[in-house]
Symmetry: C2
Subunit: 265 residues, 2 copies
């Protein structure tokens, strides 16, 4: 895909994706606009999942839900969205197992499906960069390293998981600034949940993340840990609902919401 | 002193102190009200000192200055304050050396003296306790430990100093909460300046503070460091002005300003 001027607006990118002309990741696309994680569940699981999200807002910050089962637009987050085609890549799960990765879910759509959009770290990383902080995974062109902790989320119905965290190494003074900046963004994971000793939250080897890539931790830096949107994916895998659709990692919904509108203050 | 109900208001305590009936420390007095550090300098040094303060607001947060040289009231911080008698104990310095500790400075008052009131950690400690956090020096009934760092303040005229920091040990999750809470209080030292490795800011031995008392650092806790109001005292000692008055440590001016009014948000 050519990233020309006509494709820098969220609507232009969604149109291209909808037409089937782009199916890659969305990192760095439409700078300044919120990108969202996607979870689609049958109505019978929707209340429990929403309850799980609301009990664990740092791991699973809900940006929007579809206003009723079966509808495919999301008017509060973007114009003319069709949730069945506007993400570059989807994963379809049956009984907790991924069965297919597709670029369009129109043919498996059902009238009982409820859509959840969940905040994503891209938004707060942009705010941190604007504050002059270095994001190591961006500098090193890697996926952010993610770890399964020993910190249990509050469970709700069938949904339960230990918190998954992402990690960005920083000098302590930068970490303090990052805590201030991210505290303004509760809808996109908010302030970190831990810094320093990985073992204190059950991480055995900081160089062996369960998801993503290891990044360099320089002398004088400490690992800083944020609650991560992979947590609800683990909760869904644990719950093993008979049917579920998510985005493919890194292949997000690009919304019309400016990142700045996510700031609490 | 009996801490009966009539002595819980700032004005009542100041009246007692003014009458010469109390000359002890003010820790825990008039809960909810701002207590202030005091610096009094001849007018010839006033601009440089104010410039030092404004360049180093975390170490030297100015709450108020007298509105002109020689005046002894401070109407913006309290009713009927007489700065010459309303603190329990003062220190008089000549050429950078302490020459006397007194309970009243009326007999050394001069028409060229300018008063500076500087924010104090008592205010943010109260906010941290209200947030459910433990303050180790309070739990252990000790003075907070303070350390001279290798971080230079921005100098102004004759005033220069390395930053002095106070330290409170906390678990990382509590430290993150403390950073959020203290960020709301820029006038009383604000957010911490460092956490973790003491050597990174030039502290050789965390168990040997230069001022105050060592406190217990428990397993799983990290030292968290705040800029400290002792910094301007070091700057004054370095500058060695021919004349200067400060409060005695712990013997503060109790103002009529509610701590809550110091919150930026």
């Amino acid at each position: 895909m050519q990233k020309d001027a006509s494709l820098t607006t969220p609507a232009a990118i969604r149109k291209l994706v909808r037409a089937g002309d782009y199916s890659g990741h969305t990192s760095g696309f439409a700078p300044g606009f919120v990108q969202a994680n996607l979870v689609i569940l049958p109505k019978q699981y929707a209340f429990d999942f929403l309850q799980f999200s609301q009990a664990n807002p740092k791991s699973c910050p809900i940006i929007a839900t579809s206003h009723s089962p079966g509808v495919t637009d999301m008017p509060t987050v973007g114009e003319d969205i069709d949730i069945r085609s506007d993400l570059p890549r989807y994963r379809i799960f049956k009984n907790g197992q991924m069965v297919e990765e597709v670029t369009d879910i129109s043919d498996v759509w059902r009238d009982d499906l409820v859509t959840f959009l969940i905040g994503c770290s891209f938004s707060f990383e942009e705010a941190l960069i604007a504050a002059g902080l270095e994001i190591r995974n961006i500098t090193e062109h890697k996926n952010v390293p993610m770890y399964v902790t020993n910190m249990p989320c509050q469970s709700a119905g069938m949904f339960h998981a230990n918190m998954v965290v992402s990690m960005r190494p920083m000098k302590p003074a930068d970490a303090i600034r990052a805590i201030q900046v991210c505290s303004r963004f509760p809808s996109v994971h908010g302030a970190p949940v831990h810094f320093g000793d990985p073992a204190a939250i059950g991480i055995k080897n900081i160089n062996k993340p369960e998801f993503g890539d290891a990044v360099t931790i320089k002398n004088g830096e400490v690992p800083v840990f944020w609650a991560c949107g992979v947590t609800p994916q683990i909760a869904i895998a644990n719950a093993a609902p008979d049917f579920c659709i998510t985005h493919s990692p890194g292949h997000m919904l690009i919304t019309d919401i400016p990142n700045s509108r996510m700031a609490a203050l």
